[in-house]
């Protein structure tokens, strides 16, 4: 996978993950162009399209488009499943996820994605495993935020 984008029907970018080093200027251009292409698609059209030298796999979930750009030898059908898995992870984490969750907690969306996919490939095919890792990492964060006093550490308070 070269990159993944999440954007709304109004063309607002909600997440962008690039797996290939690209200049900022180029990223903006590619995003703008691809958003236009995908937003112009009608509901009955195929989830796959050819764009530049890549294949694009996209699926719309409520108000959000999930869009992946993959290379020629990658399997589009399994990429659809990848997108679906990511949505499931978000759903489990946020509890009935909606676009607002992703807007207000975009960093969490990134954390979850980074636990699921690395360098464009899936890290772990088990939903349970990915969610557990996120949960544990969140706990670590909480411990940071409410540091236990020395007494607490010793179990005396």
């Amino acid at each position: 996978m070269r990159f993944m984008l999440l954007f709304s029907r109004q063309g607002k970018l909600r997440l962008q993950k690039w797996f290939l080093a690209t200049a900022d200027r180029d990223k903006k251009k590619l995003v703008r162009e691809l958003m236009q292409v995908v937003l112009a698609r009608k509901p009955k059209m195929c989830s796959f399209l050819e764009w530049r030298d890549l294949k694009v796999v996209y699926k719309r979930y409520a108000s959000l488009y999930f869009c992946c750009a993959i290379e020629g030898q990658d399997n589009e059908l399994i990429t659809l499943e990848l997108i679906h898995r990511y949505v499931e992870l978000l759903d489990k984490y946020f509890g009935s996820v909606c676009e607002l969750d992703i807007i207000f907690n975009f960093e969490k969306a990134y954390f979850i994605l980074d636990e699921f996919v690395m360098g464009g490939e899936i890290q772990d095919t088990s939903k349970k495993s990915v969610l557990k890792a996120i949960e544990q990492a969140d706990l670590l964060q909480e411990e940071d935020e409410s540091p236990r006093s020395v007494l607490e550490e010793m179990g005396l308070a």
Binding site: K44, L80, G119, Q123
Partner: protein, 783 residues
């Protein structure tokens, strides 16, 4: 100074902006606040500020001033800081700026951190955006982690290694030892990422590929894992719609494809499991189809048994019948997989699809069938029949530009003219509403009307039709409301031609023509007037003007043609052609190149790449046949130059036409050892300067043949290589023959061409293998 506002609050505030200007103002204000906060080196709120910056960056606003702050966060001890810091680094930093190198030390430390989630962050960042320098510095750490027993880290290390290899391919070797036990893991995450790593290594290096095939017995391991996935019961953790870990299944299938390609043993070892997957996978949902898609690709690419191939074709057929809107993919895949061996089977499925699919697909499907037929038709008759079927089945959906191509095709199939015109006539007798069909039919009837009424046909029982009956049908088409203007143009011209082909009805033709000289349709009127004049004033010229069309220059449907890569099935097709190979010179019927190749025995097979050799001596491409190892005779002399459509060969539909003269690039001897000599000759495309075509010629000066010869080549990463099928696998002794093979090199960065080649062959009873580096490429071949 008051505490900087929280992230969520900022988001909420910005969302209340009603105009772009208002938003910009808010952003600027907040950026200023953040900047001063950064200046104060405030550790407490740095994380919050960077997070806000990342949000604003996503909205499209510049955030460079936060880069160093990300680095500071990464260096912090707090996990929260690191989490945001690394995220910021991945979003704001990139390898083009030197500042990213400052991360290297932090990452190194974090890779050795006591908390696995910190190690995970470091691996993730390195694996997503690590530059070549960073990868070089940290590869050792990654390698260490690849050997850990902690599966959480191991899976991440594997993908990180993939990234390192992509960035710095030379480092691939160092990860080899660590791959030894990767597939013994139970953890699916590790299994998946390991398969990805192994795939990357095998794809990049033929040596690795060979190593994994032979020494590591990778195929049996993969087969075992795949089998467990299919046979094991429900596993809630990895289940997707009743299928166990489809992601892993797909990756394994892809790796199997690479291992099985061109390797009989590996292909045989995976035959059963492929059949199992193919038959047991549910197709009701996308996930099952994803696996089947990959399975079909694998089956078609390896050296699978014919039974397995049939199974694959059936699966494709089922895909096509599926009502899902994603079947366009299946259709495209089907066309991509058609080759000389499976063309009959595939066409059956595709024609069935054409008949039953939604109208929106018919045009593409028809075009695809025409293309595929032209490339792989096992015989002329089959080709004409297939075209006929498409025209009759989907005649109104056929693209306009297909009509001239088809006409040209028919013209060039000289011995099939009677058969074709007869079939076309019969087709429009009942129904002349499908315009493309009628156009082709009219044209043919006009051209070959004499054959039509002759009452003789070799391919099928001849029909008895009179000149009047023919003119009747053509007139009906002219008059009919259903006929488009273009069609009527075709028909009128056809009628005119018949004035010289028919013997009894010249007056009738003259009458029809004069009627239309006052037609409202300007196009028809003009034609009719001209034809009328031909009758009146230039009658003596009429026969000459309306003479039979000569064989045309072949410009194929998409501009290029391929030669059939054939063995097995198409050999039997040779018997169908009208001029059977006389044993020594099947080349007498030189018009029909497709049939000729039906008689060749070309091995080994690289399924997607037909044989092709741009002729370096600049002659007609038929000289190519001198290089093919025809079973009938070693034709060393140039073939008799019968009126040949001078079409050009190419392996890829997208490749530009090549200049057929060597353009003066000096050849080189790439290898010369133990009696085996390999010469390279070069050609450059005159339309795509990045492409170089290398033709290798292998000769054998020893006294015994070299058999099972396989040539392999590898090029540096910035190049792309395509190896087409060799002319044969045997280099005869005493320099009495050569093997030729074409290599296409894509060199977009115009780098110095280097190549590593590997040769394997059998000689004097033993298996020989040799590796060599070719570095004496002349500058003109790559500059």
């Amino acid at each position: 100074m008051p505490a900087p506002i929280r992230l969520r609050e900022l988001i909420r505030t910005i969302r209340t902006a009603r105009t772009q200007a208002e938003e910009r103002e808010m952003i600027q204000k907040e950026c200023a606040a953040i900047r001063s906060s950064f200046r104060e080196e405030d550790n407490t709120y740095r994380c919050r500020n960077v997070a806000k910056l990342l949000y604003m960056h996503m909205l499209g606003y510049p955030a460079h001033f936060g880069q160093l702050e990300c680095l500071k966060l990464i260096a912090s001890q707090k996990f929260t800081d690191k989490r945001i810091g690394y995220l910021g680094a991945m979003l704001l930093l990139d390898e083009r700026q030197d500042v990213h190198l400052l991360m290297t030390n932090c990452i190194k430390n974090d890779l050795n951190h006591s908390t696995q989630y910190v190690q995970g962050l470091a691996l993730c960042t390195l694996g997503c955006m690590g530059s070549s320098e960073m990868c070089r510095d940290l590869a050792g750490e990654v390698e260490k982690l690849l050997k850990t027993s902690n599966s959480y880290l191991r899976k991440k290390a594997a993908l990180c290694a993939v990234h390192v290899i992509r960035k710095v391919p030379e480092l691939m070797e160092m990860f080899l030892p660590a791959t030894k036990n990767l597939l013994n893991e139970k953890n699916h995450g590790v299994l998946h990422t390991s398969v990805v790593l192994l795939t990357e290594m095998c794809e990049r290096s033929p040596d690795m590929l060979a190593h994994f095939r032979k020494n590591e017995k990778l195929v049996p391991q993969l087969v075992r894992i795949l089998k467990n996935l299919i046979m094991s019961g429900y596993s809630p953790e990895h289940d997707v719609s009743g299928i166990s870990d489809p992601f892993l299944q797909v990756r394994i299938l892809r790796l199997l494809r690479i291992l099985g390609r061109n390797d009989d043993d590996s292909s045989e070892a995976m035959n059963d499991i492929l059949a199992q997957v193919a038959t047991n996978t549910e197709t009701s949902k996308n996930v099952g189809n994803a696996i089947l898609y990959e399975t079909v690709l694998t089956i078609m690419d390896i050296k699978s048994e014919s039974g397995l191939r049939v199974l694959a074709i059936n699966i494709l057929g089922r895909f096509l019948l599926n009502n899902d809107k994603n079947i366009r993919r299946a259709m495209e895949l089907s066309f991509a997989l058609v080759n000389g061996n499976n063309v009959r089977g595939m066409m059956k499925e595709l024609l069935y699809f054409l008949d039953s699919c939604e109208p929106e697909f018919k045009a593409d499907c028809a075009s695809g069938i025409f293309l595929a037929s032209e490339k792989y038709a096992p015989s002329k008759r089959w080709h004409i029949d297939t075209i006929m079927r498409v025209l009759t089945m989907a005649g109104s959906y056929v693209r306009d530009d297909a009509v001239p191509s088809l006409i040209q095709l028919i013209t060039n199939s000289v011995e099939m003219h009677t058969y074709t015109v007869q079939r076309l006539y019969k087709a429009i007798l009942g129904d002349y509403s499908q315009q493309p069909l009628v156009q082709v039919a009219s044209w043919c009837i006009g051209e070959y009307g004499d054959l039509l009424v002759s009452g003789q046909c070799e391919e099928e029982p001849p029909i008895q039709v009179t000149e009047d009956e023919v003119l009747d049908i053509l007139e009906s088409i002219l008059i009919s409301n259903m006929s488009a203007s273009v069609t009527r143009g075709y028909t009128l011209t056809a009628i005119m031609k018949l004035s010289t082909r028919f013997t009894c009805n010249v007056n009738r033709v003259r009458k029809i023509v004069s009627v239309y000289s006052s037609s409202i349709d300007v196009e028809l009127q003009q034609r009719a007037v001209e034809y009328n004049t031909l009758f009146k004033k230039y009658d003596h010229m009429r026969p000459a003007l309306l003479e039979r069309m000569p064989v045309m220059e072949k410009v194929t449907i998409n501009g290029l043609t391929e030669i059939v890569q054939s063995n097995g099935e198409t050999e039997s097709a040779v018997l169908e052609t009208k001029s059977p190979p006389s044993g020594l010179q099947p080349l007498s019927q030189a018009n029909d190149l497709l049939d000729l190749l039906g008689g060749t025995d070309i091995t080994p097979v690289i399924p997607t790449a037909p044989t092709s050799k741009p002729d370096s001596t600049g002659g007609e491409l038929l000289d190519l046949l001198g290089d093919l190892n025809l079973t009938c005779s070693p034709v060393s002399a140039p073939v008799p130059q019968i009126a040949q459509p001078p079409f050009l060969l190419d392996g890829l539909p997208s490749q530009p036409l090549f200049s057929d003269i060597a353009a003066g690039i000096p050849s080189i001897t790439a290898y010369n050892k133990n009696g085996l000599k390999i010469d390279f000759t070069f050609e450059r495309s005159n339309t795509n300067p990045s492409v170089t075509v290398i033709t290798i010629q292998a000769s054998n000066s020893t006294e015994l043949d070299m058999t099972d010869f396989v040539f392999q080549a590898a090029v540096p990463k910035t190049f792309q290589l395509q190896l087409l099928s060799p002319s044969s696998g045997v280099i005869p002794a005493f320099n009495s023959g050569t093997i030729t093979q074409v290599i296409k090199v894509l060199n977009p960065q115009k780098q110095q061409l280097r190549m590593r080649i590997k040769l394997t062959y059998n000689h004097k009873g033993s298996a020989i293998q040799d590796l060599a580096e070719v570095s004496n490429f002349p500058p003109q071949s790559w500059q």
